[in-house]
Amino acid sequence: MNHASTTAAIGVGACLLVGLTLLLVPSLSARTLPLGVAVPRERADAPVVRHAVRRYRVVVVALTALAAVVAGLVPSPAGLLPSTYGLLVLGFAAFVVCRRPIQTTKTAEGWFRGVPVRLTAPLGDVPRPPVPVHWYVLALALVLATAAFGWTRYDALPDPYPTHWGDGGLPDAYAARSFWTAFGPLLVALGLTAFLLVLARLVRLAPLRPRAGDADPLARPLATERAGQSLLGVSALLGAGLVCAIVVDGWLHPDRLRWTASTLGVFGAGLVVAVVVTVVRSRVGGPAPAPGAPDAPDDDRHWRGGLLYVNREDPALLVPKRVGVGWTLNVGHPAGRVLTAVLLLLVLAGLGLGVAGTVLGS
């Protein structure tokens, strides 16, 4: 496989991964939250709901195909960035546009009028799923084993040592061989593992938010939390594995990286399996609720675009996501605003660096 086709394959693979995730979004939400719109149970299968979800899926498939074609035809790292990010942004836009008819019909027909609703919370401590520490231990062991292997290879590494590999896996930047140039990325992997472990402990403090009407209201939030915890742990191991594979590739083949495609392929496949397992595991809803059981209240006003949670009254910083598995920041919380701004800056900085690197490199 030549350089161009490898880069194209990576670009197409990244687009398919993002497309698959976007396609799974409706399946990741409760039945009463189609495309992030709160609806009463008796309206969950209304024609406008089914039509909106179908439309979203069709648009996502079309966008994914388009992005994959663009990524395939522009086989350079520059093509990877716009097509993948573009797909993500357009996918969100499709989500926001497709959910609108549900909201309009819900308001016009007064779907919640006369429907009994309840807010539910446990009046005491609920034992929370433990953090699956084994994933983090495996990630740490992998990094340590890689470091030990690197220790044996250190004297054989060229000096100066490549600090960056560009197009076609060829080195395009060098620095004097040192502990930092050879082992630096492993510290990043350690940092990532530690960050995800801290996050895993933090989310156990987030409220469970059971939805009224479920036969066992805590079953779904607890299953979702367990699945989310596993996804965090698996991500730590996959992230550490990705970094270790790239580092070892550099140590063994400093003149030209050879494992990039297979490394990213394994990483992507692992991510797909992890996401699919998470989807399956989080869809525990318990038996169907008794007829006449109350619904969860309409809280659409707190969810901008069905995705962004803004509630100044709510003291929780992290809340379970309304769409998908995991947690999201409460932007109405003072700390939530600061963290959102920091995250946004990090994303923009990452994009800026990527674009700058591409422009300077070309």
Partner: protein, 135 residues
């Protein structure tokens, strides 16, 4: 024993703090919250519902004033008494009697045929063990 679930109706004209107070009183009467049972912290319960902490604090203040809740810096908020304990102080019972009078008057005014039978039914639903032993 798993923690009982508290349900609130955000569309009800009854204020949320009052609903929290009422549901806790019912849980104490039913034995779901025995004396000494811990209640979540104000912040934790407010986060559970996604409501203002002041609302939960107000409900807890009421329960404390009524002698049903005790808050210490060591163990947090715990249920202060159960249905089997000796009766609460006279001022608490006088207040309850005054509210009961209004409630019974409402039933009477609405023409409920047998108010006493309804009272028995409600007490049966609460099923406090001490009351059954006494009858």
């Amino acid at each position: 024993m798993s923690a009982p679930l508290l349900e609130l109706d955000p569309t009800s004209p009854v204020p949320i703090y009052q609903q929290i107070r009422d549901r806790v009183v019912e849980a104490v009467a039913a034995g779901a919250l025995p004396a000494g049972a811990p209640l979540p912290s104000v912040r934790s319960l407010a986060a559970g519902f996604g409501i203002n902490t002041a609302t939960v604090a107000k409900a807890y203040d009421r329960l404390r004033a009524e002698g049903l809740l005790r808050t210490t810096s060591k163990s947090g908020s715990v249920v202060a008494r159960g249905p089997g304990d000796p009766p609460s102080p006279p001022h608490v019972l006088d207040d309850w009697r005054a509210r009961l009078r209004t409630l019974l008057a409402e039933g009477h005014a609405h023409g409920v045929p047998d108010v006493v039978a309804v009272c028995r039914e409600v007490l049966g639903d609460l099923a406090p063990p001490t009351r059954e032993e006494a009858s």
